[in-house]
Amino acid sequence: MIKKHQPLRKFHDYKSSISRSPNKEPLWINSSSSEMSGPLFSEKIINKNDNDLTLNFSKIGEKPLGQEIFVHGFVKDENGNNLKNVLIEIWQANAGGKYRHQNDPSNIKLDENFGGCGRFITSSDGYYIFKTIEPGAYPYPNRGTEWRPRHIHFSLFGSMFLQRLITQMYFEGDPLIKSCPMVNSIPDINARKLLIGRLDLSKTENEKILGYRFDIVLRGKEQTFFENKREGL
């Protein structure tokens, strides 16, 4: 089976992918115990406010700038079963599009009340929730200067290393999504939509925090072919 829902490694419109992807075909092999096992993280590593980015870095009584949002959803396997004990780590820019990182070249100000990272472990029904602020779009060098759509980076550990995933959530309606080469590196146009957090008016608090719903599916054990052939067979 050939699947087109995962991005191409080498995608011409995304310039840094050209020198940062292999030229030769990958080697397809059967998963063994090293792929079908993985680290498990306990609730003990999580603080109470780790999933609240409006609180986990700010000074007491102060808040970061920006529109407050909830981002929530379920983590599932490919059969639709909800996955518990999945560690989710997120990171993002502040409301002005600036990352708290020494290599971010932008002149935009840091927000002294915003770190930009959070952690959560899914509950027994596979549910997760973060409270944060809407990140700003930001420019980056690609084919000249281009703009990243607003996004939140997500990292997930399933129950085996095969399920390890790093991805990004975009925001419904963002006009920058369409021209983003990272999004467009996914050949299947419908699969691109799986990365869009949907406005969720049912998830509001005191009518001042907007909700976004973003469900995530982790792969199973079966091989998913990205190319027509298996090298070496």
Binding site: F11, S19, R20, S34, L40, Y99, C117, M182
Partner: protein, 190 residues
């Protein structure tokens, strides 16, 4: 009867150049979590059993990648995988691109078919410019590697040496990873 419809797994996207904020926040000066993940793969590694692995990841222009994260995953000395040890998270140095890992040499165990399992460490790599993670393995013995790939009916011999580190003392290893070029590392898909 219809096969139950499978959900499509969420597409991968690059971790970007600022992955440290979420994955190793202390490097960026953010000190809010209880601990960093995967600081050491095993508790109480004795000097006797410790091995040191270091190297760089080279891009297609032969430049070391300074914004990569590597997660390593391995079994213990008896060849067993366990969910509470064997995981390490390291990043390449923001200036030099070098990574360093102190761990133990993974062991072998007897498979159900009587063969001996291979000793290797899995390297799972993400960085800016990588739309999907790159997965490779560092084997300690060429024989292990050959047996392992024979099991998978693999018939490529000319690049197998890209999966073997350089060592003089079997304690300190250099394992460089090349994304392109003559020395292009073998990367796996599962």
């Amino acid at each position: 009867m219809n096969e139950p419809k499978k959900l499509i797994d969420t597409p991968s996207q690059t971790a970007g150049p600022f992955l440290h904020i979420g994955c190793t926040p202390r490097i960026t000066g953010i000190n809010i979590f209880k601990s960093e993940l995967g600081l050491i793969p095993f508790q109480d590694i004795s000097d006797n059993e410790a091995i040191n692995i270091k190297g760089k990841i080279y891009d297609g222009n032969n430049e070391p990648i300074i914004d990569a994260m590597i997660e390593t995953w391995q079994c213990d000395v008896n060849g067993n995988y366990s969910s509470n040890q064997g995981f390490a998270r390291i990043v390449t140095d923001l200036k030099t691109g070098e990574y360093q890992l102190k761990t133990i040499r993974p062991g072998n165990k007897i498979n159900t078919d009587g063969s001996l399992s291979a000793s290797y460490i899995t390297f799972w790599i993400v960085a800016r410019g990588m739309n999907r993670p790159l997965i490779t393995r560092m084997y300690f013995l060429e024989n292990d590697l050959k047996n392992d790939l024979v099991l998978n009916n693999i018939k490529i011999e000319d690049r197998l040496n890209t999966l073997i580190p350089y060592t003089e003392d079997k304690k300190n290893f250099i394992f460089n990873i090349y994304l392109q070029g003559k020395k292009e590392t073998i990367f796996f898909e599962f």
